[in-house]
């Protein structure tokens, strides 16, 4: 892929806050028109990385170009071309929906005639027409989120940064929200979205998993599943608790996750027949249950990379 097609091109980004290293050596290459996901728990450096890419935070070291602009020196120019939706609702709660959008349009200095049509178009696109005279403070979570997104794309940015956009909305609203994102991506907008929901990460074209400020894996969701270097064995046991204890006792098992009556057991690829291993271990302890090898989910990937990291760090 040609470097010019990369909307975000970052090499070795680091950011420290005093002694705390929030982001360590993160490199990114995001092609035009993709929805790129940042998956990671709170405090994994997602927001810090996004802020560096927006030009809001200066990297301690490393380089990044967004839309061909250096985030260190050309951040003012960059701000005209990117949209940023903050984790927290950051529009004015004491202004109405319409007033908020008009304010943003004026701040981006969108010409008078175009301003009005653009605001109206967004109001109807985002299903906010009826709420136009309502104060932002009185909107529901989903409505606030749509308003924030409308404000972020008002000036038609080529690159959109969304920092945990769906943390305060219900599943239905999340689905609608993602449909809007796919629509934007189809029109050529590149989107970087951070999340800690697996199902959302699953929808991204490309994905990077962040753990304690380090990018521990990246690729498409499907590729990531193949890369983890472990297989997943699922157990449906009557006594899930005992089964879990039995699995934890096995030295070959990397991790056990319980989902109701189901157990997902992660076993490294170095074991040739993982299902057999699990079955014999259960029989030994006289635990009844159905055992089956299943394809890894994104959650398994997430567990695998973060656990392995944790073990590596402990070893070091």
């Amino acid at each position: 892929m040609n470097d010019r097609d990369l909307v975000v091109n970052a090499q070795g980004l680091c950011r420290s806050f005093g002694p705390v290293k929030a982001v360590r050596d993160v490199s990114l290459a995001i092609p035009r028109g993709t929805i790129y996901g940042f998956l990671g728990p709170n405090g994994s450096g997602k927001s810090t990385t996004i802020r560096m890419l927006c030009g809001l935070l200066t990297p301690t070291s490393g380089e990044a170009r967004v839309l061909g602009l250096d985030v260190r020196t050309q951040s003012e120019k960059l701000k005209q071309q990117i949209g940023y939706m903050t984790q927290r609702f950051s529009l004015y709660e004491d202004l109405t929906v319409l007033e908020n959008l008009q304010f943003i349009a004026e701040v981006y200095a969108i010409a008078g005639k175009h301003r009005k049509t653009r605001v109206e178009q967004l109001l109807s696109d985002f299903d906010l027409q009826e709420k136009r005279r309502q104060r932002a403070a009185t909107l529901s979570g989903g409505q606030k989120q749509r308003l924030a997104l409308a404000a972020a794309i008002l000036h038609e940015p080529k690159m959109l940064f969304l920092d945990e956009p769906t943390s305060a909305v219900d599943p239905q609203n999340r689905r609608d929200f993602w449909e809007i994102l796919f629509g934007l991506a189809e029109q050529g907008t590149t989107i970087l979205v951070s999340t800690h929901y697996m199902d959302e990460a699953e929808r991204c074209h490309q994905l990077a998993i962040l753990h304690r400020g380090v990018k521990v894996a990246d690729g498409s969701p499907r590729d990531l599943g193949r890369q983890i270097g472990a297989s997943i064995v699922e157990i449906i046991a009557d006594d899930a608790n005992r089964a879990r204890i039995a699995m934890n006792d096995l030295s070959e098992v990397a991790s056990v996750t319980q989902l109701g009556v189901r157990l997902r057991v992660m076993i490294p690829d170095s074991i040739a027949q993982p299902a057999e291993l699990v079955r014999s271990a259960l029989q030994e302890k006289h635990i009844e249950g159905h055992v089956e090898q299943v394809p890894p989910s994104l959650e398994d990937v997430f567990v695998a990379v973060t656990e392995m990291r944790g073990q590596e760090e402990q070893a070091a």
Partner: protein, 366 residues
């Protein structure tokens, strides 16, 4: 062009928010109303070293004795010796002196005859404390070696009250209140204005837009200039209605002085807002400035009565300079040009604060 659009966008937003914030809106009108009715009387205190000037047209042994005796009392410091009572009046008008001593050519004869006062104290009576000082001076026993003074029914000195013949303290308080209220509201509103955006997270969005720092600052300041002027009108208008405080000077001068002072306070507020991280901190810092302003600026106690160190601190406070300006214009009818020192001082404070505020405000989060 784009820049103007952005400044107006922020102004309009600020006004909209203000009109919906009932508490702040109430403060704009409520603070002047309450303070004006509450501050009835000032705190009285002993005064020393008042600036004074004298005219000695007698120039006799007796008149020199009088001057020496007044000097010895340490209440007045004679800075100038001029030639005519008219010049004393000019000095009073421009606020350079608080008291003038006029000794007429026939001073000796008046002392000996003892049926009239022998000399005159011209007192800036707008400050009741200074007026009181003048009155106390008349009872000073003069060590004349000839006759005993108590024999004279008329007394040695006559006090002539300038600008405030009725000796009402409200006359001095009301123009002073203009400055006090403007300091309180203007510094506080702007100090909180930017910190509030930071606290609510609005700033993270704003700094991600093409808005420039100067545009943001100007857009935030401008609405408060109008609010400040409204407050000036309320205070002076009510002062006139309730306490019959006159407006002797030019209204345009009042406008210029107020605009300058408002702008200075807003710059100060902006500077605070770039240093504080929470609204509470901004409030504390505002009071850090507000308290010395009230105590040292000459609003409560006469400036000349304070020790030198307090006077030096007071010179750094915008309110000190504004008090001189507004009292001069409103009470003595002075014009603003004759007090250019205070105008320059305000301009200097404003420039320093605004520059610091713009330099400290960063469009980055680090």
């Amino acid at each position: 062009m784009k820049s103007l659009l952005r400044i107006f966008a922020i102004m309009r937003k600020e006004l909209l928010q203000l009109s919906r914030d009932r508490l702040t809106f109430g403060m704009i009108v409520g603070i002047p109303l309450i303070q004006l009715t509450l501050f009835g009387y000032a705190i009285n205190t002993d005064v020393r070293n008042l600036r004074a000037a004298l005219v000695d047209q007698a120039d006799t042994h007796l008149s020199r004795q009088l001057i020496a005796d007044i000097n010895a009392s340490q209440v007045l410091v004679f800075r100038d010796r001029v030639d005519s009572p008219l010049q004393l009046e000019t000095l009073l008008d421009s606020g350079q002196i608080a008291i003038g001593l006029y000794i007429p050519p026939d001073f000796d004869r008046r002392v000996i005859e003892g049926d009239r006062q022998a000399a005159q104290l011209m007192v800036d009576g707008t400050d009741p404390i200074i007026l009181g000082v003048g009155q106390r001076l008349t009872s000073i026993a003069m060590g004349f070696d000839t006759q005993r003074r108590s024999a004279s029914p008329a007394g040695l000195l006559e006090v002539r009250n300038y600008y405030n013949p009725e000796r009402r303290s409200a006359v001095n308080i009301v123009p002073g209140l203009v400055g006090v209220i403007l300091t309180m509201t203007m510094v506080l509103f702007t100090a909180v204005a930017i910190v509030r955006e930071r606290e609510r997270g609005n700033l993270e969005l704003l700094i991600n837009t093409p808005v420039r720092t100067t545009e943001l600052m100007l857009g935030k300041i401008a609405p408060y200039v109008i609010i400040g002027l409204i407050q000036v009108v309320i205070i002076l208008g009510l002062g006139w209605l309730l306490f019959q405080v006159p407006l002797r000077g030019d209204r345009l001068d009042v406008l210029w002085a107020s605009l300058l002072f408002i702008a200075t306070n807003l710059s100060l507020g902006l500077f605070i807002s770039t240093s504080a991280t929470t609204q509470f901190q901004a409030m504390q810092m505002t009071f850090f400035i507000f308290l010395p302003s009230i105590l040292l600026s000459g609003f409560m106690f006469p400036f000349d009565g304070m020790p030198e160190i307090a006077r030096n601190i007071a010179e750094l406070l915008p309110l000190t300079h504004f008090n001189r300006l507004i009292r001069g214009i409103v009470l003595r009818g002075a014009d603003i040009q004759s007090m250019s020192r205070d105008v320059l001082a305000l301009l200097a404070i404003m420039t320093v604060m605004l520059t610091l505020a713009i330099r400290r405000f960063s469009k980055r989060l680090d």
